[in-house]
């Protein structure tokens, strides 16, 4: 008893770490290991062939393109929404602030059918776009709309705390030195927000790449045209083509790994103390 207190160590190290490792091993490591085993049992050329079939390549182009475009939309509007929520006071601000997390809380299938209904040619919004010749539902644009919805909270939530902690003296100094308000925003405020906004962009991109539920209802799902990569994996699994599904999933895992590395680099670059 006294020995433990003198060492200053808390009890439960072995138990808590043991439970954690066992749980992670059973739920995460063993399943991931089966992917490695499955991959190792296939010749490399075969994996390459499966992962780069014309249909797979078309799905990567659509998925990566739509996810990048959606993340870019969220980059611009995310900074804007964060700014409005942090700096302006208006009735209902708290409700709007809470609502930003909706894409995290709303099941993706519900988001999918709701967006499809709204953006369909006879839907609340689609109805107004149809005469202009803009079709969203059941086209690649539908994928962009769904991924914009799914990625919406990331940039807002990464930028908001930085904006709240921003030293008012920075902006005051710029104003005192004769900078107009717009110049101050562009030259002083935006550069301060850039690392957080970039982190939010990458998070939204990563989420968009793997998204399934919200997209399939609005995308049309035509092979080579409006079929996302996650759906193609699903199709392969339904055909019991495990090798084909694994090969395409490897491309996904590689992309997530690269994005994780980017995130780590961004986190290191914007660590407090480095700049201030």
């Amino acid at each position: 008893m006294t020995g433990r207190a003198e060492r200053g160590a808390l009890p439960g190290f072995g138990l808590s770490l043991g439970v954690t490792l066992l749980y992670l091993a059973l739920l995460v490591l063993v399943p991931l290991a089966t992917v490695v085993l499955r991959t190792a049992s296939l010749p490399l050329e075969r994996i390459w062939e499966l992962a780069t079939s014309a249909r797979a390549l078309a799905s990567y182009r659509l998925t990566f393109g739509a996810a990048a475009l959606a993340a870019a939309i969220n980059l611009v509007f995310g900074v804007l929404v964060a700014w409005v929520l942090e700096r302006y006071r208006f009735p209902g601000r708290r409700v709007v602030d809470a609502l930003v997390d909706l894409p995290f809380a709303l099941p993706t299938a519900v988001a999918g059918i709701a967006l499809a209904a709204v953006y369909a040619p006879n839907g609340w919004i689609g109805r107004w776009l149809e005469p202009l010749g803009v079709k969203i539902a059941y086209t690649p644009l539908g994928v962009v709309v769904a991924l914009t919805f799914i990625g919406l909270p990331f940039v807002v939530r990464t930028v908001q705390p930085v904006l709240a902690d921003l030293d008012p003296a920075l902006e005051e100094a710029a104003a005192t030195l004769g900078a107009g308000r717009l110049a101050t925003l562009r030259r002083v405020v935006l550069p301060e927000l850039a690392p957080a906004a970039a982190t939010g962009f990458v998070l939204a991109l990563a989420r968009g790449l793997g998204e399934y539920g919200s997209v399939i209802f609005i995308a049309g799902n035509l092979p080579m045209k409006s079929e996302i990569t996650a759906l193609l994996i699903m199709v392969r699994l339904e055909e019991y083509d495990y090798a084909g599904a694994t090969a395409i999933a490897l491309v996904f895992l590689a992309a997530s790994f690269l994005l994780l590395l980017t995130l780590n680099r961004l986190a290191r670059g914007s660590r407090p103390g480095a700049a201030r």
Partner: protein
């Protein structure tokens, strides 16, 4: 000019209005309109159709299965989150960073790939599938598979809420309790738990929302057997694909209500967390 001071950090009124209108317009288009559409579509054929869709035996079976899955997943991942947070936030050990990365990993895996991991493990041509089938154990297309996929997808939520909080709180109070002769479990129950209860509840609510709403991963492992392996989101998908739109949106409105309650609870808890 000399009569009134202008806040150097305030934008001209026209700019303020424009930014507000753009930000709120964006949120209305992507968040408010789809949510409103869910309820409008749900009641488009009147109360009777709504009530019938929800009281239908297949819908009730889906609700029951979803509640069972959440009742298994939430306690397990909460116990894991507590163990992981205790190990990571209270002790130094080698490989800690790797362990934290591993805990976060399910967030960066596409839900479809998450489901695929368990198909590769337990499927008919999977690693353990044939061996288990011989012994009459059914994992895939049954409750265990759905629980495993949901456990994987929601694994990080509680741990992620607790680790940063417990790290910032430090262990001084726990050490004091131990020095005064309290046992390890007593210290955990009476000192640690009260300090982390709001963050724990926050993580629990997020886990529950995702567990009840998960679509992609569950879709891969469930097999869509009506009345047997359909969760609420899968039931919505089936109704929608059968063009029973009013019924699909009626069932989806239940999940939307869950999401809105989750958001309200999150907002309330976030305030408590900020205030200590």
């Amino acid at each position: 000019m000399s009569g009134h001071f202008r806040d150097p950090r305030a934008e001209p009124a026209w700019l303020r209005w424009t930014l507000c209108a753009l930000a709120l317009g964006f949120l209305a288009l992507f968040l408010a309109v789809p949510v409103a559409a869910v309820f409008a579509q749900a009641f488009s054929k009147g109360w009777q159709v709504y009530a019938a869709a929800i009281r239908e035996p297949m819908a009730l079976a889906a609700v029951k299965l979803t509640v069972i899955v959440a009742a298994i997943v939430v306690p397990l991942n909460t116990a894991f989150g507590l163990a992981a947070a205790w190990a990571v936030a209270r002790f130094r050990f080698r490989g800690k960073q790797l362990l934290v990365t591993l805990i976060d990993l399910p967030f960066s895996v596409s839900p479809v790939v998450a489901g695929m991991l368990f198909v590769l493990l337990f499927g008919a041509q999977g690693l353990l599938g044939p061996w288990l089938t011989e012994r009459g154990v059914r994992i895939l297309f049954a409750l265990p598979g759905i629980v495993l996929a949901t456990l994987f997808v929601t694994l990080p939520f509680v741990a992620r809420q607790l680790i940063p909080l417990m790290e910032s709180q430090g262990a001084a109070e726990e050490e004091a309790a131990l020095t005064l002769g309290a046992s390890g479990w007593k210290t955990f129950l009476w000192v640690t738990l009260p300090k982390i209860r709001w963050a724990l509840l926050y993580g629990l609510i997020l886990t529950n929302a995702r567990a009840m709403g998960e679509f992609g991963a569950v879709s891969v492992v469930s097999g869509h057997i009506r009345g047997r392996t359909n969760t609420i989101p899968l039931h919505v998908e089936i109704l929608y694909n059968e063009y029973q739109f009013a019924a699909a949106f009626a069932v989806a409105s239940l999940l939307t209500l869950l999401a809105l309650v989750t958001l309200a609870a999150q907002a309330g808890l976030a305030r408590r967390l900020r205030d200590g």
